[in-house]
Amino acid sequence: MELVLFVGLAAVAAVSGLLVVVQRHALYSAMFLIINMGSLAGLYVLLHAHFVWAVQVLVYAGAIMVLFLFVIMLLNLPREEVRWASRDLKRILAAALLSLVLLGELVLVVGFRSAGPSAGPALAPGFGTTETVGRLLFTTFLFPFEITSVILLVAIVGAMVLAKKHFD
């Protein structure tokens, strides 16, 4: 049952990820990105990370992607008429090279990590619950957590400085 769900969700994630790239309209790309995020959220549930699932849907699918759609609609982007990118030899070479590097990385990681699905250590009771995640965030990972919030604050201030033409 878990395997069926995993394969299904992974397939949806992969296919929608591909469709994000090949769509000719930015709005459709955004829609497939939402589907992609939804299936990733499903995979988090399979990993017993309920809190991460809820946050993934709430923050990414529910808030950030709405902003994406908002911007796409405001810009009123036209449909791309070019079917494929120009047959530029340099581009194709670069793409092929990068793909090979990615493939190599994948082979290295998968080959070295395991020769099949490993059981891994048993889950601690309460794994993935809000309480556990919160406790970890405010004890073990307190420093990265606070740094993240400061970085976000800097980003907000930066965005306001860039957006405002003059200050009173």
Binding site: M1, L27, M31, I34, H50, F51, W53, A54, V55, V57, L58, A61, G62, A63, V66, L67, L69, F70, M73, L74, T129, T130
Partner: protein
């Protein structure tokens, strides 16, 4: 693992001998029945809310309201439903077909599935033939409140995509307004609940309801239930205001402001697709009221134990307030809406959160 084939093959067992029924099957049947009852009730409420709304507004404006179809016009929603069902389903030529078809469904579904985590009663006893009492909620997940917010945050897609796919300037404006409005008010809405979460210490809706049980004596004379509306009054007011905005109801109904945008995002929709947007709006109102009831009004708790009757009663009181607001308040201007959301509600919600946190720490230590 019970598969559907096995379930269908066991019908004689289900009907014949209750005692030997496998527990898995029993759980499944109870679940299906509960989902069916909740779903049917929600659809019925969504349909009859149109009647209630027209009657209440008519009363407030000293009119009669629907009165011809059935006694007190009670069959009016059914007549309207049949009318919408048989209307011609128009699809304008300039629309984006796929998203145009998808949008109504995307707006109905989130409104409905929020009910999966809302506790609407206590428990039903086992009656001697069930293996355990039936709890009256569909599921009780660890991240209940987060689930509610994540699902409701998906509701905006239906409206935004309808506005865009219609390829019509009024629809597009409605869709843009809806997305900006819903993102803005979602923040204050989530923050207004944090006070309750601090007091309870859990995101489970069943725990939140349980924490509101019992009475305390006000000045030693008046028994006041321990509902969070009394300990978190500001939180409740912010939550309800944001619920008005999130469901696009007056005075925040700018996405479909008929005086300026024809009908906003659903201008181009007709027949059942229009009916689905209509249903989504009323289902959203019912959902928002149900969530507010669970978080602030003690959910199904009431005198003589918890019961779905109390729950439904409280939900209808809130629904009445929704309608009352629509009949009383004029629509906001767009800049007023944004100023109100970001400069009034958000700081107030933050202050409420900080204040509650300080009090909670002082109280506990």
């Amino acid at each position: 693992m019970t598969s559907w084939g096995v379930i269908l093959g066991h019908w004689d067992l289900v009907l014949g001998d209750w005692a030997s029924m496998p527990e898995m099957l029993e759980t499944l049947i109870i679940m299906v029945v509960k989902v069916g009852v909740v779903f049917a009730t929600l659809l019925l409420v969504a349909a009859y809310m149109t009647w209630i709304e027209r009657k209440v507004i008519a009363d407030i404006q000293v009119r009669v309201g629907p009165s011809r179809v059935g006694p007190y016009g009670l069959l009016q929603p059914i007549a309207d439903g049949i009318k919408l069902f048989f209307k011609e389903d128009l699809m304008p030529g300039h629309v984006d077909r796929a998203l145009f078809l998808l949008a109504p469904a995307l707006s109905v579904v989130p409104a409905m599935i929020v009910f999966a985590v809302i506790p609407f009663g206590g428990t039903i006893p086992a009656f001697g033939f069930l293996s355990k009492p039936i709890p009256l909620y569909l599921s009780d997940i660890d991240v209940g409140v987060l689930y509610v917010f994540s699902v409701t945050s998906l509701g905006v897609y239906g409206i935004v995509l309808a506005g865009w796919a219609s390829n019509n300037k009024y629809s597009l404006l409605g869709g843009l307004r809806a997305s900006a409005q819903m993102i803005s008010y979602e923040l204050s809405m989530s923050l207004s609940v944090v006070g309750v979460l601090i007091l309870v210490g859990s995101l489970r809706l069943t725990e939140i309801v349980k924490a509101q049980a019992g009475f305390s004596w006000w000045m030693g004379i008046l028994p006041v239930p321990n509902w969070f509306v009394f300990s978190q009054p500001i939180g409740f007011l912010i939550f309800f205001t944001c619920a008005l905005a999130e469901t696009n109801r007056a005075p925040f109904d700018l996405p479909e402001a008929e005086t300026e945008l024809v009908a906003g995002f659903h201008s181009e929709y007709s027949s059942m697709k229009f009916a689905m947007f209509f249903m989504a709006e009323y289902a959203n109102m019912a959902t928002a009221s149900a969530v507010a009831t669970s978080l602030f009004l003690g959910g199904p708790l009431g005198p003589f134990g918890s019961s779905p009757v109390w729950f439904v009663g409280k939900v209808f009181v809130l629904l009445f307030v929704f309608i009352w607001f629509r009949a009383s308040l004029p629509r906001f201007r767009y800049d007023q809406l944004m100023t109100f959301g970001w400069k009034r509600l958000l700081p107030l919600a933050l202050a409420n959160m900080v204040f509650t946190a300080i009090l909670a720490v002082l109280w506990v230590r």
